[in-house]
Symmetry: C2
Subunit: 419 residues, 2 copies
């Protein structure tokens, strides 16, 4: 199928200003949502695969340049052949000898790998004319495992064990497929940005409840601890005793402060406390996980690769696994981390650096193929007008996407006349 | 002192081809040594501070671009004022809201911070007319701690504890200062690059012994395990029973392979086995540290920041701490990690991403101020012709550098007529 060879590779640096206060947290005070976009165009421009990574500012340009360097070996490759053993390619790209020193497997070069990989999966699904979730479900366990780079996981998850995990789920898939008709809930992160004042948080939470949401997240980690505690109690009040609330400190606290604040905030019975301290401080996360039980620790948006996740799992340092295919090396490494989490019995609730566009597919696959509870998926609607097929919710429930691909097409990058 | 304000900031992408086989290891087969150089030029071009980070290929360009973005706030700052509380600036740069997402505190942006920070220290020392080691020794404990960013270390090393560690060493400094006259040994990494054939390794080791060296490192992690074992035994033979040998796998092994190979290699009584597996796999390093005792694990050249080092120390995952001021956030974070290692009683033996130029100063400071055993410092001479003041050895002993600054000036960047 010569028409599905990758003929042209482009990187685009797209930046979107947010409404005042939106996206603000303890660490990122005035973020700009930026996408480092990879496009893989097939011969004759017939199909275009789009992938991206998120960043929060002018550094986005660096990721775009890394994409241009890293993606060169994909030129001329037929997409079917490439994806037949994409795990090998993913590993080769991750270990590019000219770029590996810059990570390895983290930072700018790994964000570039995420963007490229996501474009490959989008192109693959489009070339088959199916949505990404369908493509993944249609693969045999062996085919699925062939898109993964399992290196450095050998003692826990080799190829055979990964295939076995998928095979065990096959007889259970039919029973889990009702999710395709009924969807699954979103949770609303956009009620509780750091810069929003109390009345706005309250008002947005009430609106969200009216729209059917029952789970809400609040940014904490303010320099003013009494503000954090006041707002947290207020959110519990707005959400009611039966509502699900989560607190997100965005890495702001030191371990001693995290201990104090998590102790106080736990009294409000949140489902989780997210990124209580520096994402590299696994031992601190493990200590906090022990101390705040039965409240759980959630993290992942800054965990760069499967090896760090493996360590977090082994150290019991996280419960809710917020893997993100725009931080990890794309859909491929996201799936690897999901298999590993399954092995440890931990639930995946993705962080949506992609605004949920790709993850809405992945949640369906994880639920049906691995039995991961589709508890809910983060909902951040600020960029929805820019996507050709934005994630759609019925009330507060994600609707199953039907268009071919990974829902990553951006209006401004569509060929003229397609927008 | 207006003439010592930073007037101009430049980033230069310097690349140096190596002789055939030099620098090769299990992961980097044909490296090019690249320096991402920051220059801070004072008013009238009177003094120029030079710093750099090492990378191994074309990605060096990305670090240079990150330097240009990250260094902007330094423009116009008088160097004395800047360094009076550099810890605050280091933290602000590390948390730049436009770039932080790309790490945080790792990868391209953190390499850029290393380069910038090293240039600041070079400029500071030159502005005082003293070599870096002298500048650091002349600082009061409070002044030294003011150049450090101790955030996220609070439970182990706050400002007071850091000052106390330095203060304890003050009465012992005189007794440790003989090192300034007698130097300290180098160890030779350049005998054992991966691509060198057996006879070359043997010949180079003999030459090194003739030059006074008694410690040698061999690259292992080859796809052919019998080759590794044969060469390792050969090196033991060349070095003799009293020689010190080390093996470096450059992250190549999985944990099961590392277990087998470390078991075999330990029989040859190396001082350490270096980077036995992926640098993010702290739990694997901890397991191997237990299993290969009394042989030690060494690592650090890919540990990006003080938080990861803190975790390694807490987990007993490393013994020889190969911190590198061109991987960490420069001289400042190197000193922070050194204080932390002191707290854990672990020896620092720097990895020389700087070819030993800056670290030759730091080894002197660590020995005199903290009592860190100046066991030896890695010696890699391939770039020495490019430095204005290359590290000098008397036989196999590092000679104390006397020129002002951090020995980072590169001939090709000197103003015309100074080369």
């Amino acid at each position: 199928m010569a028409s599905c060879s990758i003929e042209r590779i482009t990187a685009s640096d797209l930046r979107y200003a947010l409404p005042a206060g939106a996206g603000s947290d303890a660490v990122h005070t005035e973020p700009e949502y930026c996408l480092a976009v990879t496009q893989l165009v097939t011969a004759g421009g017939k199909i275009s695969g789009t992938g991206f990574a998120l960043t929060l500012g002018e550094g986005n340009r660096l990721v775009c340049e890394a994409i241009e360097m890293l993606a060169r070996p994909l030129k001329g490759r037929p997409i079917d052949e490439l994806m037949a053993d994409f795990g090998r390619t993913a590993r080769e790209l991750a270990d590019d000898p000219m770029l590996r020193w810059l990570g390895p497997h983290k930072g700018v070069v790994h964000l570039a790998l995420a963007s490229i990989t996501n474009a490959c999966f989008d192109l693959w699904a489009k070339s088959q004319g199916v949505p990404l979730w369908q493509l993944l479900l249609d693969l045999e366990p062996e085919q699925l495992v062939a898109v993964l780079d399992l290196s450095y996981l050998d003692e826990l998850l080799d190829e055979r064990a990964a295939i076995e995990l998928l095979r065990e789920g096959l007889p259970l898939r039919a029973g889990r497929s009702a999710i395709l008709r009924h969807g699954y809930p979103g949770y609303d992160t956009s009620v509780g940005w750091m810069a929003y004042d109390d009345s706005k948080v309250c008002e947005l939470t009430k609106q969200a409840i009216d729209n059917g949401f029952s789970a809400f997240k609040l940014k904490v980690g303010s320099a003013d601890r009494t503000r954090d505690l006041r707002r947290a109690a207020m959110l519990r009040g707005c959400a009611g005793e039966s509502g699900t609330i989560m607190f997100d400190a965005n890495q702001q606290w030191t371990l001693p402060t995290a201990r104090e604040m998590c102790g106080e905030l736990s009294k409000l019975k949140p489902l989780w406390i997210e990124e209580p301290t520096h994402p590299d401080d696994m031992m601190a996360h493990a200590a906090l996980s022990r101390e705040i039980a039965p409240v759980k620790v959630a993290c992942g948006e800054h965990i760069p690769n499967r090896v760090v996740f493996k360590n977090y799992f082994e150290a019991h340092a996280v419960h809710y696994v917020q893997a993100d295919c725009t931080r990890l090396g794309g859909v491929s490494e996201f799936l690897t981390v999901s298999l590993l989490a399954k092995k440890f019995g931990l639930p995946i609730v993705p962080h949506v650096g992609d605004m949920g566009q790709i993850h809405q597919h992945l949640v369906l696959f994880l639920h049906i193929a691995l039995g991961n509870e589709a508890l809910f998926l983060e909902h951040i609607p600020h960029l929805r007008s820019h996507f050709a097929f934005p994630a759609e919710l019925d009330g507060a429930r994600y609707r199953t996407p039907q268009e071919p691909g990974a829902s990553t097409d951006l209006k401004e990058l569509l060929p003229h006349g397609h927008a």
